[in-house]
């Protein structure tokens, strides 16, 4: 527990469990710098079940405020932004094949350590900064499997169908009419 005492009150700890903080010294903010806070978060990508190859975690980018800072994921999915001033910020995730909602994160000077994050797409609040994709994105049309119906519905199919009707049904009708 002694290690907690070292943390400056200025440090903003977002959602990371306590044990993780102790384990991860990367979060340490050196004394003397009070202007910036650190945002820590994690990205959880479910194992791909649908289409395509699973996304490589090394190709995921996390973007703060539309490009002001860009960071990458560590192998365990964690990321951090350093030296972030107090205010309301926007975090976006760019991962090919997944749709992530941007997240608003409040970094407040008055209540250090208080977590306030919400998905902007559906206004859902987050109790911890664990970002999950809202949905998978598949960029291609899926070819319809072959079916007789699609063949029949195509212009050629209609033509042949009409022809069949004329050839085989019309004479029958005509016969009926004639009699």
């Amino acid at each position: 527990m002694a290690s907690i005492a070292r943390w400056r009150p200025a440090l903003l700890i977002l959602l990371l469990q306590f044990c993780l903080l102790v384990r991860s010294p990367v979060l340490a903010i050196s004394p003397g710098s009070v202007d910036g806070y650190t945002i820590n978060g994690r990205i959880k990508i479910p194992v791909a079940k649908g289409f395509g190859a699973p996304v490589k975690i090394s190709n995921v980018k996390v973007i703060l405020n539309g490009g002001q800072n860009v960071t990458f994921l560590r192998p365990d999915g964690y990321f951090s932004f350093h030296n972030v001033p107090a205010g309301t910020h926007l975090i976006e995730v760019s991962a090919t094949g997944y749709f992530f909602s941007p997240v608003r994160v409040d970094v407040s000077a008055r209540f250090p350590g208080k977590v306030q994050a919400a998905l902007t797409e559906n206004r859902r609040g987050l109790t911890e900064l664990v970002l999950e994709p809202l949905r998978e994105e598949y960029y291609y049309e899926i070819r319809e499997p072959f079916s007789i119906m699609s063949l029949v519905k195509s212009p050629m199919g209609l033509m042949i169908g009409f022809m069949l009707v004329v050839v085989f049904l019309m004479p029958k009708l005509m016969e009926n009419m004639g009699s």
């Binding site: 010294p25 990367v26 340490a28 903010i29 050196s30 003397g32 710098s33 650190t38 395509g52 490589k56 975690i57 090394s58 980018k61 973007i63 405020n65 539309g66 490009g67 002001q68 800072n69 860009v70 960071t71 990458f72 994921l73 560590r74 192998p75 951090s80 350093h82 030296n83 972030v84 001033p85 205010g87 309301t88 910020h89 926007l90 976006e92 760019s94 991962a95 090919t96 749709f99 941007p102 608003r104 970094v107 902007t120 797409e121 994105e137 598949y138 960029y139 291609y140 049309e141 070819r143 499997p145 072959f146 195509s154 050629m156 033509m159 042949i160 022809m163 069949l164 050839v167 004479p171």
Partner: protein, 1017 residues
């Protein structure tokens, strides 16, 4: 600028009844039918419009990738390179570039294994390899240290380094130093030195040097000891040396001394305790030795090293054993520093020589290389560090083209089969290309200038000459049929993987997309690309290959032009359709420096051959270039160049051009947007020419924004070559609205000065965004709109009669996109048929840019999920096809979004008539449909711009997106309604025809028989 040609009165009458949208035709049809029929049709149309909504206009099957699009990956100009060590066995090199890219390249072919594009503010200062498995990068002025896994590029850890002030940074990865069984990385940045554990990025210790403005030059590990030296300068006259214990971070010693004669920026390290610098005058070499707390200086004038020396000499920053190189105006000198501190020249070579760092080739031997280029040859010399007289390697390599001088060289050695040392050199050339030279030949080269595209224009390809038949590729009927049977199999999903590959190959062959002639549909063109390196490329739109490339002589650094930078490309000479023997050319406008008042340069380049036809150094600056809509008798386009003092210069400087231009003098208007001062000004030309081809200008209007409440952050105008097909828009209830179509529409966005920073730096209460629509001829403000609680960055696109812009809404904390459409009210009365008949309409009154018609604007806003890097709009040949927006998102993808989603007439519950018209029910946010990404699963890393070019086929537009990567595709905003798709199954059509013919015969026979039977009866 001139009278609006797209609104000639006679056409407008016609347009009242004839509107572009295809839906209208359907509706007139519906009117004529009986009421029952009409309702049926309505339902059908409704279904149709709903269907067309759910299915995005752009969608691609996975097997169609690469048919109409291509994607090229680049890295940019290489700053630094580190080779894998021999032990790891893999043949790779890790490079960092000026586009903030870190990449691992294959040494055999130059392909990219992995690559990361860091943020735009995250420039890489140093890279190295630690423990043989991590790539370490120091970026953002020494504040971010990252470790990447060498084989796959996964980031392993990231460490944030803080310090009191910003300074130069330096990275040192000592091979043998260990602290508590941990490998240590030493990083200097922001006035502090940090020791970082290489395994997990923890800070082991940190030492603040407590010296203001100490600029580090070198961080040296004294041979195999635990002591490191930091040498550098404070200001331009004080030398500082720090000795630090690498295990604990304790400061052992700090020496400081004033340098006699000052210091001019660069320093060479000749041994672990000797530094060589040039004094501020550039005429005296100062040797600084720092032994055991003693700092001694030794001065040698350059004139003693070389006779007839004039001007300034520069020391190149390098680490060579006992040697350093000095560049004078014409030569590069290699100077040896003797043990006593005396200097002696060992060799003189050509000026444009690049020198590598030392490379340890065995326990006690070190080698270095120097390279210089002679037009199409490069000479590579590798020497042993201590022994000047002996060459390890000396070879001359032929290049396939002019690449300018050598900028950087990195060497690496390998052991040949006969156990001798072989060397390979990675060379960075002036044109930003990267070459690997090994065994006297260029193994591979990369054209990395294409990572820094400045401007793009297209050029038509030559017309196919008659007589040269294309029919050679045509196959026999059997082959043709076979191909189509294969395709049919593909459509019926009966094809095996082998068949699929055959189909793909067939498709590529059939499209003939990489031919060097003009095609009927206008898909094949040349993309003329100007890059930061001063090199021009012509890329084929079919497959993206480089047709020619040229390093422009006028864009190379020279004595008269210190830092030439390319500005723009303009089509200069576009021969008309029948002039087959003439080649088109482009005008390259550039200037001799980054500031506005630097002198201009013009260069004319043939777009078929890439030859520089001529070039001119101007005696004035270039601030703005206005292509005029006139041609001279040789079909050269007239251009007006505006310089910093407000003078206008006409090009080409011929009397012919002048006689064409003089009558139009009073019709030329332009504007300037001065973002710093917050002023927009409109100008016109004075009648009297100050000399033959220069004209004085007068300011005719100006709009001054109050600097305490508004700051200009974006201005955007219509593309001058955009075609608008119709002026009227038919809305529900057989009503029409007239678009306000003016080429002189300017969109300007201003924000509160407090809110001009990044998101998160201001509150909603103190920020606002104000947008203006300004007529640039009269300076009239057509519309002013305020968005409270909004801020930039703003991206905008203006087209036809609308503008769409993207900004950040601080209250909702989401991005928003707004649309403003402008309609001309003065023409609204013309809808009355009786007035038309009685002639009481104003349709015959000329449309003038000076008139002030009553306008009406409509506007609506929607949420949009992503940040946006760039917005463009599709453009087609005749402007009939409906428009789609192309949005470059923060994830470096390009999203196509139908303009109908940004229609101010959208409402929550559209009426039946409005639904038929295609109005989409209002939703608060714009949809993002994954299938409508034109870049599909690809990314255009570092996206900076999107260019659209119309094809000849009305339905199709060509899209070129550039950044660090290049991407090109063909796009049909309303599907390809005017041609059959490539998927069209001719075989099925043939089959149907055969079946029909067979059926005709069968029925004929049957009827014959029946007739016969009837006759017998």
């Amino acid at each position: 600028m001139h009278k609006n040609p797209s609104s000639s009165p006679s056409r407008s009458v016609y347009l009242v009844t004839l509107i572009d949208e295809t839906r209208r035709e359907k509706k007139t049809l519906g009117k004529d039918f009986s009421s029952a029929m009409a309702t049926m049709l309505r339902v059908f149309l409704l279904l149709l419009s709903l269907l067309s909504l759910t299915a995005p206009a752009f969608s691609l099957y996975e097997d169609q990738v690469g048919l109409a699009d291509w994607h090229q990956k680049y890295i940019g100009k290489v700053k630094d390179a580190v080779f894998h060590t021999q032990k790891t066995g893999r043949k790779r090199v890790v490079v960092s570039t000026e586009e903030n890219v870190i990449a691992s390249l294959d040494l055999r072919h130059g392909e990219i294994f992995w690559r990361h594009v860091l943020g735009p503010n995250d420039a890489i200062d140093g890279i190295d390899i630690a423990m043989g498995k991590y790539v370490i990068t120091l970026s953002s002025e020494g504040s971010i240290l990252r470790a990447w896994n060498l084989p796959d590029g996964q980031m392993v850890w990231e460490s944030f380094l803080q310090g009191p002030y910003s300074s130069k940074s330096s990275l040192l990865v000592p091979a043998s130093l260990r602290v508590d069984k941990d490998n240590v990385i030493l990083a200097f940045g922001k006035g502090c030195i940090h020791a970082i554990s290489a395994i997990h990025g923890d800070t082991l210790w940190k030492k603040d040097l407590e010296a203001d403005s100490f600029e580090i030059q070198y961080m040296i590990q004294a041979s195999d000891s635990d002591v490191i030296h930091l040498v550098g300068f404070v200001g331009s006259s004080q030398f500082d040396s720090y000795t630090i214990d690498a295990k604990s971070g304790e400061l052992i010693k700090h020496d400081s001394a004033a340098i006699p004669g000052g210091y001019s920026g660069q320093a060479a390290l000749v041994s672990s305790n000797t530094l060589v610098v040039m004094d501020s005058a550039g005429s005296t070499v100062t040797t600084i030795s720092f032994h055991d707390g003693k700092v001694t200086f030794n001065q040698t004038p350059v004139s003693t090293l070389i006779e007839d020396f004039v001007g300034k000499a520069i020391i190149s920053a390098s680490k060579l054993e006992g040697l350093f190189s000095v560049k004078t105006g014409t030569l590069t000198l290699f100077v040896r520093v003797t043990v006593e501190g005396k200097l002696e020249v060992v060799n003189k070579v050509d000026y444009a020589t690049a020198v590598s760092d030392l490379l340890a080739i065995s326990e006690d031997r070190q080698a270095f290389a120097f390279v210089h280029s002679r037009s199409t040859d490069i000479d590579l010399t590798v020497k042993l560090g201590a022994d000047w007289n002996h060459d390890l390697l000396k070879e001359s390599v032929k290049m396939d083209q002019e690449r300018g001088s050598v900028k950087k060289v990195f060497i690496n050695n390998y052991i040949r089969t006969d156990r001798s040392h072989g060397f390979r050199a990675l060379i960075v050339m002036e044109d930003h290309s990267l070459l690997l030279v090994q065994q006297g030949a260029i193994v591979w080269s990369r054209e990395d200038a294409l990572a820094s595209v400045i401007d793009v224009k297209t050029s038509e390809l030559p017309v196919e000459k008659k007589g040269v038949s294309v029919a050679k590729v045509e196959e026999t009927l059997f082959e043709w049929l076979q191909g189509h049977v294969l395709k049919l199999k593909g459509t019926l999903m009966l094809a095996s993987p082998d068949d699929m590959a055959a189909i793909q190959a067939l498709r590529l062959k059939a499209s003939g997309k990489s031919k060097m002639t003009r095609d009927h549909n206008g898909f094949r063109k040349l993309l003329i690309v100007l890059t930061k390196a001063g090199k021009i490329f012509a890329l084929h739109t079919g497959d993206g290959r480089i047709i020619w490339s040229r390093l422009l002589n006028s864009l190379r650094q020279s004595a008269t032009c210190e830092a030439p930078t390319g500005l723009n490309l303009f089509p200069w000479h576009v021969p008309h359709h029948h002039a087959l023997d003439e080649n088109p050319s482009v005008l390259v406008v550039s200037r001799c420096g980054p500031s506005d008042d630097a002198l201009g340069l013009l260069s004319f380049v043939d777009t078929y051959t890439g030859k520089e036809l001529s070039s001119a150094s101007l005696d004035h600056s270039v601030v703005q270039v206005i292509p005029l809509p006139f041609m001279d008798s040789t079909e050269q386009r007239l251009h007006l160049l505006i310089d910093a003092s407000g003078q206008a210069h006409l090009y080409p400087k011929t009397s012919d051009a002048l006689s064409i231009f003089r009558p139009e003098l009073s019709n030329v208007y332009w504007y300037s947007v001065e973002a710093e001062t917050g002023i927009i000004k409109g100008y016109a030309l004075k009648e009297k020419a100050s000399d033959n081809y220069s004209f004085d200008t007068r300011s005719i209007w100006s709009i001054v924004f109050p600097s305490e409440s508004e700051k200009i952050i974006k201005s955007s105008a219509r593309k001058s070559n955009e075609v608008v097909h119709t002026q009227a828009k038919v809305i529900a209830d057989q009503d029409a609205m007239f678009k306000y179509i003016s080429k002189n529409l300017l969109f300007v966005a201003t924000v509160a000065p407090k809110a001009s920073g990044d998101i998160g730096s201001s509150t909603p209460e103190e920020s606002w965004l104000i947008v203006y629509l300004i007529d640039t001829i009269t300076g009239r403000i057509l519309q002013r709109m305020t968005h409270h609680g909004a801020q930039g960055p703003v991206e905008a696109v203006v087209s036809e009669n609308w503008v769409i812009y993207h900004y950040f809404n601080l209250r909702a904390h989401r991005y928003e996109m707004s649309v403003i459409e402008i309609y001309d009210q003065s023409r609204a009365d013309n809808k009355d048929v009786w007035k038309l008949i009685l002639g009481k309409h104003n349709l015959t009154s000329p449309v003038s840019s000076y008139s002030r018609p009553e306008v009406m604007t409509r506007s609506q806003s929607y949420f949009f999920t992503h940040s946006v890097k760039s917005i463009a709009v599709t453009s087609t040949a005749k402007g009939i096809t409906s428009k789609q927006l192309l949005i470059g998102t923060v994830g470096d993808q390009v999203l196509a979004l139908d303009k109908r989603f940004l229609d101010p007439r959208r409402s929550v519950n559209p009426t039946q008539a409005e639904k038929e018209e295609g109005i989409i029910p209002l939703a608060d946010s714009l949809p993002i449909i994954p299938q409508s990404y034109v870049t599909h699963a690809l990314k255009v890393e570092g996206l900076r711009g999107i260019e659209t070019v119309p094809a000849k086929l009305e339905s199709t537009t060509l899209i070129f997106a550039y950044g660090v990567d290049l991407f090109f595709t063909r796009f049909a905003p309303s599907r390809t309604y005017d041609s059959l798709t490539e998927d069209f199954s001719y075989a099925l059509l043939l089959l149907t025809i055969v079946a029909l013919v067979a059926a005709i015969f069968i029925t004929w026979i049957l009827s014959e028989k029946k007739e016969l039977r009837d006759k017998w009866r």
